[in-house]
Every structure is written in structure tokens, then in C-alpha cells.
């Protein structure tokens, strides 16, 4: 067990416990031991001066592709969790579209074991909905849950069969597993490469209508209302989808949603010049969609900011746009991109932190996400005014596929603590 830590004089932002003020924080035995408005005695602890810093619960990312097992050239659980803690994330949910797919307890256990060996961020495996992501046969959801999966998804692919989707909601509901969905009607998106609009027409990229996402959101909300369960909608990207989720929540349906930083900071303009580092699925949208996502983040329609961190190598990206792999990395840029919304007046600091902490924790029912005494000692220290320039080459991730290369950003993670142990900066660099 590591030495106790006192984090002194920082601005503690703990949305779940309605704290936003200068506090001392004591971490001991892997838990938050005390939060105090008055200075805490050092009492043998390591002292961390946090004046001028934000002290927040460790960030939680519900949507990360760690690529292990199977595509270790792009990312491993070690490199991916290094990227996580560099970005202030103390926990990540690992998507199942690995090779082999995480559709069995065996793969789930492997992911957990590798994460334990890496010993950086907590890794919560997410199991597959269907065997091999084939969209046909239900995976062993009970076994996946028992092995430690916190949700199920076929992410990267939609569940095209409405019948399977309905049965999964019915079956996963009593297991307490959120069903996380990638909403895309493949018959509408087929052959397309960019959101339908003047830019897609000009660049000669076949259009993906926004209805490809929206009709599936509508379908799944209808199914949810009929059979219950727990629906979580991944990477919401269209204005009309936000409106549907808002209305469903108003009616009390058990739905949650996440949005990715690229969908609230970029439009399809970033694709100009066939920039494959701006290619992801769902694709970048139009300014009115970005505005709607921002509104959804502010008003509670969207519960969590999730990066959809999707590492790819040069071979997948240095090709013509239509042939390039979907996905961008996001763990190491999520904080400053979220803070752009604070500076723009879209989110207050407390709401911004909530979207990175207690929002995602509640969505998947995870421990952490807050700093009350007894909570896991997962803490992120942020210098909210630090200016830096995004340089993929300096990332901890093995991959460099960021659409933000060269962007000047503000806000930097200066320390990440998991279970009371400082994991960022990395031990070997300290």
C-alpha cells in the first residue's frame, strides 16, 4: 500500500457531492480519507501542493478501444492505459471489437489480467452483444457479466436486427447490464464516407445521411419503451438524435447517452483535403449538429463525454479517404477540448467535470466519479490555464491519428492518482 497523500489547497470540484471550493484532500489505503475546508495535518503523508489547480475525481471514459488482444501494433492495454492516465482518466471502458472479440469470459479475463499487469488506469471490459459481433446470435451475456463486463455493445457495428436488439434489451435488463449501441442503419450509410452536405458533394465523397443514425436512435427508443432494460447510446452526433434522447428522458425512459469531443469541437470542415485523421464513424457533422451536442451536454440530455479513442497506424490512414479506417485517438486531448466548452460559456466548470466523472460513473454503475470519504482514491489534478500545442508524436498512445495536430489548447493534467497511487506522471519519468 502506498504512502498517504495530502492534496493541499486545490479547487476541489466534486459534482456528485456538490463541492466546488478550496479543500484539502487526504488519500489513504486506496480511499479518500478526508475532505476538509481547513488545512489537514500532514501526519506522515506525501504533500502535494495544489494551489491554482483543479482537484477532481478521476476521469472515466466509457468508450475506449485498447486494441488488445489482436492489434497490438496500434495500441496495447499498457500503452492505452498510459494514454488514459496522461489524459487524466483513472478508468476506461474497453470496447470488445478486439481479435478475438470479447464475447467470452476468457477474453474478458485476459483484458482484466493485462490491465492488472499494466497497473495504471482501471479497465472495465465491455462485452459483445453478439457472438463475434455477427449481429445474429446473442453472446453469453450472463457469463460476460460474471467475468467482469460492465456493459455490452457491438460497437463499431450497429445491431441491425431489431429483433435481436429487442431480445438483448429484455435479456440484459435483469442482469443489470447497460446495452450500449452504435446507431447506424447500414442500408442508409452503405458506401458513404462523409455526412451528406455540400462538402461531401464537393469532395466527391459519397454521402451518409444523418438519418442513418437518427432512425436507429428512434428504433431503439421505441424498443426500450416497449420492453424496458437499460439503453446507452454511444457517440451521439446528430441534432435530431439529441432531440429524441431529450424527449425520451423527459418521459422517463432508462436511456443514457455519450458524446465524443470530436463531435462537439469539429465539423466536416476538418475533412477538407481528404484528411483521414478526421475520419471516424459516425462522421463529423455540420455546425447545427455541433451546437445541438453542446446543448445536450449542458442540459443533461447527454450524460458523459466519452472519447471513442480508436488508435490506427499509418497504414490504415495514409490511404485515400474512402479507404481509410474509421477512428481517432482521444484520451490525451479530451480535457482541453472539454475546457473549450467552458471557455465558450457552454458548460460551467462543475458540469464539465461531471461529464467526465460522476456522469459516466452513474451511466455504467461504476465505483468512483466522486470524492466523498470512503470513495476510491482516484483523483485528477488539472492546471486549467496551462497552454500547450497538440503533438501526436508526444502522446503516450502508440498511435498518432489525432485530428487536432497543431491545435493550441488550454488545460493540462498534471497528476493522476489511481487507488491512492500517483500513476501520472509515469513513475519512470518522475
Amino acid at each position: 500500500m502506498s504512502k498517504p497523500i495530502i492534496i493541499r489547497g486545490g479547487r476541489v470540484i466534486d459534482p456528485r457531492n456538490r463541492i466546488d471550493g478550496v479543500r484539502d484532500l487526504r488519500l489513504e489505503d486506496g480511499k479518500v480519507a478526508a475532505v476538509s475546508e481547513r488545512p489537514l495535518p500532514l501526519d506522515g503523508a506525501e504533500e502535494v501542493q495544489a494551489g491554482g489547480l483543479w482537484v477532481t475525481p478521476g476521469f472515466i471514459d466509457l468508450h475506449v478501444h485498447l486494441r488488445e488482444p489482436g492489434e497490438e501494433a496500434k495500441e496495447t492495454i499498457l500503452s492505452g492505459t498510459r494514454a488514459a492516465v496522461a489524459g487524466g482518466f483513472t478508468a476506461v471502458a474497453a470496447m470488445p471489437n478486439t481479435r478475438p472479440v470479447n464475447d467470452s469470459a476468457l477474453v474478458t479475463r485476459l483484458v482484466r489480467q493485462r490491465a492488472a499487469e499494466a497497473n495504471l488506469a482501471r479497465v472495465y471490459p465491455v462485452g459483445a452483444i453478439s457472438k463475434g459481433l455477427n449481429g445474429e446470435e446473442m453472446a453469453e451475456l450472463g457469463a460476460l457479466r460474471d467475468a467482469g463486463c460492465v456493459a455490452v455493445t457491438d460497437d463499431g457495428r450497429p445491431v441491425m436486427s431489431a429483433s435481436l436488439m429487442r431480445r438483448v434489451l429484455v435479456y440484459a435488463g435483469p442482469l443489470g447490464l447497460p446495452v450500449m449501441v452504435h446507431e447506424e442503419d447500414l442500408t442508409l450509410s452503405a458506401g458513404g464516407a462523409l455526412t451528406e452536405g455540400p462538402r461531401a458533394t464537393r469532395l466527391g465523397l459519397l454521402p451518409i445521411p444523418r438519418s442513418a443514425e437518427v432512425v436507429m436512435v428512434a428504433r431503439d427508443l421505441v424498443l426500450l419503451e416497449e420492453v424496458g432494460g437499460r439503453l446507452h447510446i454511444a457517440h451521439l452526433s446528430c441534432a435530431a438524435s439529441v432531440a429524441l434522447v431529450r424527449e425520451a428522458k423527459r418521459r422517463g425512459l432508462p436511456v443514457t447517452a455519450e458524446a465524443a469531443p470530436h463531435h462537439f469541437t469539429l465539423t466536416d470542415e476538418a475533412v477538407e483535403g481528404w484528411n483521414t485523421h478526421a475520419k471516424m464513424n459516425p462522421p463529423l457533422r455540420h455546425p447545427e449538429d455541433v451546437a445541438a451536442i453542446r446543448e445536450g451536454l449542458a442540459d443533461g440530455t447527454i450524460d458523459a463525454i466519452a472519447t471513442d479513442h480508436a488508435p490506427h497506424g499509418v497504414m490504415e490512414k495514409q490511404v485515400p479517404y474512402a479507404e481509410a479506417a474509421n477512428g481517432v485517438i482521444g484520451l490525451e486531448t479530451a480535457l482541453p477540448l472539454t475546457l473549450e466548452l467552458v471557455r465558450a460559456g457552454v458548460l460551467g466548470p462543475v458540469r464539465a467535470v461531471e461529464l467526465l466523472t460522476s456522469g459516466p460513473a452513474a451511466t455504467f454503475g461504476l465505483p468512483g466519479g466522486h470524492l466523498a470519504a470512503g470513495a476510491p482514491a482516484d483523483v485528477t489534478l488539472v492546471d486549467p490555464g496551462a497552454e500547450w500545442t497538440v503533438e501526436g508524436a508526444r502522446f503516450q498512445s502508440k498511435s498518432r491519428n489525432t485530428p487536432y495536430e497543431g491545435r493550441k489548447v488550454v488545460g493540462r493534467v498534471v497528476r493522476t492518482v489511481v487507488g491512492g497511487r500517483t500513476v501520472w506522471p509515469l513513475e519512470e519519468t518522475r
Binding site: 455540400p198 485515400p320 474512402a322
Partner: protein, 303 residues
């Protein structure tokens, strides 16, 4: 984006009227040289590589003829028999071709933006001979040249582009080129094949082919890709011909001096009735002949 960056021709978007007119001037010289059997051999000793990752007969032959007429050595590359089928990437392939001594790479590729990607990875010049549904600048320039030689100017003229605009790089490149030269462009086609946002690119979308033909000084019939029928983009070739084809009846309704163009190859009886394809209004073979002179001017400007 520059139309000519490092003396490459990637698109007609953003090309200045002056650049186009200078090019036409050179094309006129080359046309004269070709007719007289004394072409200007201004690329003697240079190497032009035709890299075609997509089937094409006329464009490849036209570029080959143009390069040889200029005295260049020509390398022809056939994607089907190359190391591409062994998994070599496009970027590796073009770097190898450059290392062989190519001064100009003429690239045809099924993906939009391919020529742009290649131009960023090699030092030699790149001529886009068609990239997916994005651009086909040499076709647009030869189309505009054909009209320019007939009319003396495109100012105040109306050109109708009819058919599958969604999948047409020819339509996009023509739209920029024609409007730059002062023409007005109207578009008509099956509503499933008219993409969103054409107005923002400078075209006027009309509700029917008849509305478009009524105003046209020239009509460009786009080739129908018959496989689109399988995607239910339109119900059948017969219905396409009736609703969007240039039938003899529609040809009679054209302005008396209007010309009929087609980038080829023609689906006779679908977008063009056979009588029209062979009729006096069409300039299709003139387009082909002009293509050589215009491509000579393009290669020369890149060489």
C-alpha cells in the same frame, strides 16, 4: 487548394480564368501541330507515367497519345497486373514509379482525393485523370475547350448537365470550369442522383430535363452507370431513357444551335437515343480529338 500546385493539375476548382485561357491557347497550338503532323515536342526526354488503378480506355489512350506527341517516354501501369494486387500501398507504388524516373504521374484512381494524396507524397508532377467521384479536370478542360472553340466565348452561355451527377467527377469538374469561364450551369437528373449542395458549388438545379434543355446552349449527357439500377437509384434503363434520356423528341426541342456532348462511353438507348448520338448536333468525336490537344497542353504545363 491550388489547381496547379507544384505544377500538378488536381482539380478545376479554384483555377483562374486566366490559367484556363492560357492553357486553351497552348491547346490551340498543339491542335494545329497535330493536324499538320508537326507536333511541338516540348517534353522530349521527359517521362510520363500513366498509373491507372481503374479501367479506362479512352482517357488512358488520350494521355498516351498526348505524351508521345510531345516526345515524352511513356510508362503504362496496369493495376490489375501490378504489385498492388500483392498489397503494396498507393503511396509506395507512386514513390517507386517516381524513383523509376517519372517526371509526371497521370493518375486514375477509384477513390476521391487519391491524386491529392499522391501529390503530397512525391516531388514530381501529378495530373489527376479521375479520382473517384471527385474530379476529372482534363475532361472538363477539354469539354470547355470544345465549347470555347465553337463559340469564341462561354460568357452568357448556358450549359445543362444531365444525369447521374451524384457519382460524376466529370460533372463536378465541369461545373467549376464552366462557371469560371462565364457560363451558367443548370443541372437535372433523377432526384436520387442529384447530390445535396450543388447550388453552393454554383449550379442551378432544375426539376426536369425538359426545363434544363429549354435553356441550354449545350447539353452534357452524363453516362449512366447501369449498376446503379441494382441499387435502386432508378427503376430501369427504360424508365431512365424515357424520363432523363435525350430522346429524338427532346433533341428537337433544343435551341437550333445547341450542341450535345458526352464524356463517353455512351449507353446508346439509355441517356442518348441512337439517332441523337449520331445526329448533327453532337460534338462527341470532336471532344475526343480536342482531348489530345488539351492534354498536351496540360502535360506540357506540368513538365
Amino acid at each position: 487548394m491550388n489547381a496547379f500546385s507544384r505544377r500538378s493539375l488536381l482539380t478545376t476548382e479554384g483555377m483562374s480564368r486566366h490559367d484556363v485561357e492560357v492553357l486553351f491557347g497552348r491547346a490551340r497550338l498543339h491542335a494545329r501541330g497535330l493536324r499538320a503532323g508537326t507536333p511541338l515536342r516540348s517534353l522530349a526526354g521527359r517521362v510520363v507515367a500513366n498509373l491507372f488503378f481503374e479501367n479506362s480506355t479512352r482517357t488512358r489512350l488520350s494521355f498516351e497519345r498526348a505524351a508521345k506527341a510531345l516526345g515524352a517516354d511513356v510508362l503504362n501501369f496496369n493495376a490489375a497486373t501490378s504489385s498492388v494486387s500483392k498489397g503494396e500501398s498507393l503511396v509506395d507504388t507512386v514513390r517507386n514509379v517516381e524513383a523509376l524516373g517519372a517526371n509526371i504521374i497521370v493518375l486514375r484512381h477509384p477513390a476521391a482525393g487519391a491524386a491529392h494524396l499522391v501529390a503530397g507524397k512525391v516531388r514530381c508532377s501529378v495530373v489527376n485523370a479521375g479520382d473517384g467521384t471527385h474530379a476529372h479536370p482534363s475532361q472538363a478542360l477539354l469539354d470547355a475547350y470544345t465549347l470555347h472553340e465553337r463559340w469564341g466565348t462561354l460568357d452568357g452561355k448556358t450549359v445543362a448537365i444531365v444525369g447521374d451527377v451524384l457519382h460524376s467527377r466529370v460533372a463536378r469538374s465541369n461545373l467549376y470550369c464552366l462557371t469560371t469561364l462565364g457560363a451558367r450551369v443548370v443541372v437535372a437528373g433523377p432526384p436520387t442522383l442529384v447530390p445535396v449542395g450543388l447550388e453552393a458549388l454554383g449550379a442551378k438545379v432544375l426539376p426536369s430535363i425538359d426545363a434544363a434543355l429549354e435553356e441550354a446552349d449545350a447539353v452534357m449527357m452524363l453516362r449512366v452507370q447501369l449498376e446503379r439500377q441494382k441499387e435502386s437509384m432508378f427503376p430501369s434503363s427504360a424508365e431512365y431513357a424515357r424520363a432523363f434520356g435525350l430522346t429524338p423528341g427532346r433533341a428537337r426541342a433544343l435551341k437550333p444551335d445547341a450542341v450535345v456532348m458526352h464524356p463517353g462511353p455512351v449507353n446508346r438507348g439509355v441517356e442518348l437515343a441512337p439517332e441523337v448520338a449520331d445526329g448533327p448536333a453532337n460534338v462527341i468525336l470532336e471532344q475526343v480529338a480536342n482531348g489530345v490537344a488539351v492534354r498536351m497542353a496540360i502535360l506540357e504545363s506540368c513538365g
